[in-house]
């Protein structure tokens, strides 16, 4: 339905709703016939525009499936998924950062960003400016000409984030993007992601199994039960956002309490 999406109903072009996510009774099953496996559902969830939602759960609880449904890579078996009021379409409704960087090895850092800009329909004349801006946003100035295998894993994931931001989609989806990184790099990238989304007012849905990561990043945390995943806990996080000292936040008592609470909920949900 590209034409209806282009013209849009009033609801769809309403800027306040841009980036909002709405899951109505969503269930997703894999397989056919006798070997059907229910990965997730039923889940009802509304993510208002500008929220940083973190989905937490033990591995195999269907959190990645939920993200794939929101990204539009898969259609739910039952129920409906809405992003900004319309059916999600890959590459049109959300920027996605995967667990691994998934960069194109035949292109340089610059080539990877440029490809994203081209797909996003950015005018070629504006590429250099936009490219520099995106790389600066993830702290990768001066790496344009490097081959992707010449930079570290953390830098690769930064390129992937810059690439996902290229289209300036109002929604950003991240699927355990820092799981494979060392603790130091992970914390730095968490801070970067928090800053980027805060500054641009983007909606974000972030999947992780780490309670610590969830509490640090989220403005709201949803804990999923064991497969098939359903909502076990829905917790708003009131920790300060914006320009804050991340180190101070991490060692604060509130942070520790929330982390314990979430960690507890995750274990309880996994055991249930």
């Amino acid at each position: 339905m590209p034409s209806s999406e282009l013209t849009g109903t009033r609801e769809e072009v309403d800027f306040a709703r841009a980036g909002s996510v709405r899951l109505d009774h969503v269930t997703h099953r894999y397989g056919q016939g006798g070997e059907v496996f229910t990965a997730v559902g039923p889940v009802d969830l509304t993510v208002p525009s500008g929220e940083f939602l973190v989905l937490v759960g033990a591995s195999g609880c269907g959190k990645s499936t939920l993200l794939r449904l929101i990204a539009g890579f898969e259609r739910p078996t039952d129920g409906s998924v809405r992003v900004s009021g319309a059916e999600p379409r890959p590459g049109r409704t959300a920027g996605v950062v995967f667990q691994t960087p998934r960069l194109f090895p035949w292109r340089t850092v610059r080539g990877n960003i440029d490809l994203a800009l081209r797909y996003a329909g950015v005018d070629r004349a504006r590429w250099p400016e936009r490219r520099a801006e995106l790389l600066a946003r993830v702290g990768l100035e001066g790496t344009e000409k490097r081959r992707v295998w010449e930079i570290s894993g953390g830098q690769q994931q930064r390129v992937a984030i810059a690439r996902a931001l290229a289209a300036e989609n109002p929604l950003l989806l991240l699927d355990e993007p820092f799981a494979a990184l060392d603790a130091l790099t992970r914390e730095r990238l968490q801070e970067d992601v928090r800053r980027v989304t805060d500054r641009t007012g983007r909606t974000a849905v972030f999947v992780t199994h780490s309670a610590e990561e969830a509490v640090f990043l989220g403005s709201r945390i949803v804990v999923l039960t064991r497969s098939p995943g359903t909502v076990a806990l829905d917790l708003p996080i009131t920790l300060p956002r914006g320009d804050i000292d991340a180190e101070e936040l991490r060692v604060s008592r509130e942070f520790a309490e929330l982390r314990a609470q979430v960690s507890h909920a995750v274990k309880a949900a996994a055991a249930a």
């Binding site: 990204a71 890579f73 890959p90 590459g91 049109r92 959300a94 920027g95 996605v96 995967f98 691994t100 998934r102 960069l103 194109f104 090895p105 035949w106 490809l115 994203a116 797909y119 996003a120 329909g121 081959r147 992707v148 295998w149 690439r163 996902a164 290229a166 289209a167």
Partner: protein, 232 residues
């Protein structure tokens, strides 16, 4: 092509003098220097293998992306691949005559399967994760083919090209069995008819060495075109 007609193999050196338009007609073996024989053969390989490779890449791309096309063509390609070139050479002579056409066609038919098979495999094995990454960035179907499938299949396709050139090379003598002069394969065959072992050996060495050089060039090309090979 018409300059070949006076020198059908096996007619001996005595007929050589009939040839009038060649400026140095008495020089070289069978009226041609080794370099000329080799040059003509390389030209045939360039045209024949080039055609086969181009077709192979095209078929590979189609077969790797469209399942039913693969089921349709793969048995035929396997059939073709197992045939020794000599088996179908007579057919090509009957259908296409004795000039350049059957030679070039034989080399094309020999070069086609390795490229088609390797490209098909490579295209079918393109990481789904990269295709998904491109789609997540807003790539259209065509964008995915151009920016992900083709570059991702390139290393293996180039291996197929090297194999194809090798197969074309090993079919050279067969291709030049009939009316192969000038041509290095024809030269070897002609010399064999006269038990001329030194010329046969020279021909074999010339074929082998030039093959080695060409493979070396292809290898350099591969390194230049796919520097990411083995790194990602």
């Amino acid at each position: 092509m018409e300059r070949d007609t006076g020198s059908v193999t096996g007619q001996g050196v005595g007929r050589v003098r009939r040839r009038v338009h060649h400026p140095r007609r008495r020089a070289g073996l069978q009226r041609h220097h080794l370099v000329e024989h080799l040059g003509i053969s390389l030209r045939r390989i360039a045209i024949g293998a080039g055609l086969g490779i181009a077709l192979g890449v095209l078929f590979g791309l189609l077969m790797g992306t469209v399942g039913w096309l693969r089921s349709l063509f793969e048995p035929w390609i396997t059939f073709l691949r197992t045939l020794p070139p000599l088996a179908y050479f007579s057919l090509l002579i009957i259908w296409l005559g004795i000039n350049e056409e059957p030679k070039v066609t034989l080399l094309a038919v020999a070069a086609f399967p390795p490229v088609a098979v390797s490209t098909t495999t490579a295209v079918a094995a393109v990481p789904k994760s990269l295709i998904e990454a491109a789609r997540a960035l807003g790539a259209s179907r065509w964008d995915v083919v151009r920016d992900v499938v083709v570059p991702s299949a390139l290393p293996e396709t180039l291996t197929g090209v090297r194999l194809a050139v090798g197969v074309a090379y090993s079919s050279l003598v067969a291709a030049e069995l009939v009316n192969g002069l000038p041509g290095i394969g024809g030269m070897v065959k002609d010399a064999a008819n006269y038990n001329n072992t030194p010329v046969v050996l020279v021909g074999i060495i010339a074929i082998g060495v030039s093959g080695l050089i060409i493979d070396g060039l292809l290898l350099r090309l591969e390194r230049a075109v796919v520097p990411w090979r083995g790194r990602a």
